[in-house]
Point group: C2
Chain length 141, copies 2
């Protein structure tokens, strides 16, 4: 069902500073920067590796305000890894299969994610404390 | 420098239970189970995707005791994502380059990781709160 680790979502206070850090320290390249008002974040996707199964990214997330999911995460836990996103070929089928196992879906239907992807989150309390995202890329299987 | 997201390290209280969960919910397959006494963990590597650049895994970590890094993490933060591991082709060269940028190395020299890999951790305080591991696989570039 899972085709790859699509991305690691990392919460940060200063997107521009963290982009510069990942570029200079690890040599990563920014593929996309966008604001997702629905999720309350400004974000950047930095490519780690490109493979036939799909690209893997570091996703840097800066909250648009303190009263957003990432803003509350920063207040509670500080900067760090916020979630993991796994690639799937068919997100609707994956949500149906996972929901049938009893895992609660934070998004019963896919919504808009980075770079035009269809995404959905699973309830972290049902995935061992891991905020888990499914990603059906707009460009890749 | 980074060739892939090698794995997501996830701290859990019951390794057998979490292995069963990731198998039944996401269809992942266990590739390796081992105890790493030096790091104070029992662990399992579950394959997410296999690609020319190398395999990506979910790494499930159960502490051998409360007075271990993962044991302290569980006491402080509960179950969840503990670290991210990135693949590198040459870990000694990568540590040299990253150390030269001012990031502190928790391991100045590589040590033994999962499945015979050479690994080293970077100081999370210098990587935006992210415990970051470099992995030179024993089997893959």
């Amino acid at each position: 069902m899972l085709t790859r680790i699509d991305h690691i979502g990392i919460a940060c206070r200063d997107l521009a500073e963290k982009i510069a850090f990942y570029q200079s320290t690890f040599g990563l390249t920014v593929i996309s920067e966008e604001t997702n008002a629905e999720q309350g974040v400004r974000e950047a996707m930095l490519m780690v590796a490109d493979a036939p199964a799909g690209t893997s990214y570091v996703q840097l997330l800066e909250p648009l305000g303190s009263d957003t999911p990432v803003g509350r995460f920063l207040a509670r836990r500080g900067e760090g890894i916020h979630h993991v996103g796994y690639g799937v070929a068919d997100i609707t089928a994956a949500l149906g299969a996972i929901g049938a196992t009893g895992v609660r879906l934070l998004d019963a239907r896919p919504r808009h994610g980075s770079m035009g992807a269809a995404i959905a989150f699973l309830h972290p309390a049902d995935v061992g404390g891991v905020l888990t995202e499914l990603v059906q890329s707009a460009r890749q299987p």
